[in-house]
Symmetry: C3
Subunit: 140 residues, 3 copies
């Protein structure tokens, strides 16, 4: 469900950084009861000569695009809180290393969303819990 | 119009697989009368150490992001049918090879969509048919 | 804010082309008073065997996905004008070189958008001007 595309300079993250950052992002959702496998994170390295901020090539900027499907946050306050939790999750690997960064989160209507071809059980909390427990999509 | 971004493990698809899968996806739209050239499909290989599902690196997952512009499917039933047709189109190259996968389709308002700088003839079915026949954008 | 993802054939753009094209795109926004650093442009080369248009591999097509956050264009006329200005900006490096191309612009609600962890001052024109003057996000 949540898809995180992280565009970053070639040397921004070690394998271990990517592992730990992914775990921190994933926990934002599993803490709320969502199945872990819903969280997909794609790291995309971009060469300096292909990464422009303000019309200048950069190797000091990280751009993150997040898409949410399983949950639409109900109001401005909830959205604000999510952004704050997200910023805390990523800070050790971006802010604290001296990068500039930008994040936005999109909320995509879930009608044409499928996991292994199955309609995710957004409206069936008990089934969603079972998906979370088994950490995979199960026909229902 | 439909843009399909397919994020996949390095070894998931041969050139021939990509060719055949693209043809199957394209047919979903040309069968409905849309110009073939509207269908753009981008395969993006992602290394295992940059592809995380549930906080773990993976080489067994395919994530597909689809964007529709030319047509907004009018209701929940039409959306459901599209997802079913899509799943059938991709199954031989993903499900049947043992990958896990996730798809979502977004519907993007078409006001700022252009093909070779031209406003696509969404509201002019006869012109759209001509674009489909010639398989290229034609000034009108 | 505006994020431009430019998917292109391997040999479409030299480093100098990317530099100049980025400057032209950035100017579309700085001309309207937006901070230069809001404009992020990512060039993503796609191999011919992974880039399909109409079910056929191509090395003559450029696909651009633009996302706007800081401003929602208020009506159809404003959107049309933006698309025209955009087409003019990119023409020397795409149309004039014989490529086919497709662009679409999405308008994303800005509630969960952050620059270096800060809420961009969409509702505070004076602060936005200061961000533009200093070309960086400043706590306020």
């Amino acid at each position: 469900m949540p898809l995180h595309r992280i565009y970053h300079p070639l040397s921004a993250f070690s394998s271990s950084d990517k592992q730990k950052l992914s775990e921190r992002i994933t926990a934002l959702y599993t803490d709320r009861g969502l199945p872990a496998f819903y969280v997909v994170i794609l790291f995309t390295p971009i060469e300096s000569e292909s990464f422009f901020v303000g019309g200048k090539p950069t190797d000091k900027f990280v751009r993150i695009v997040v898409q949410h499907l399983a949950r639409q946050l109900p109001n401005e306050e909830a959205k604000k809180q999510f952004s704050e939790r997200y910023e805390n999750a990523i800070a050790p690997f971006i802010k604290d290393k001296g990068y500039d960064w930008e994040v936005h989160v999109e909320e995509v209507p879930p009608e044409m969303w499928r996991e292994n071809g199955l309609i995710p059980p957004i409206k069936f909390p008990e089934i969603e819990k079972e998906w979370a427990r088994q950490n995979k999509p199960i026909p229902y």
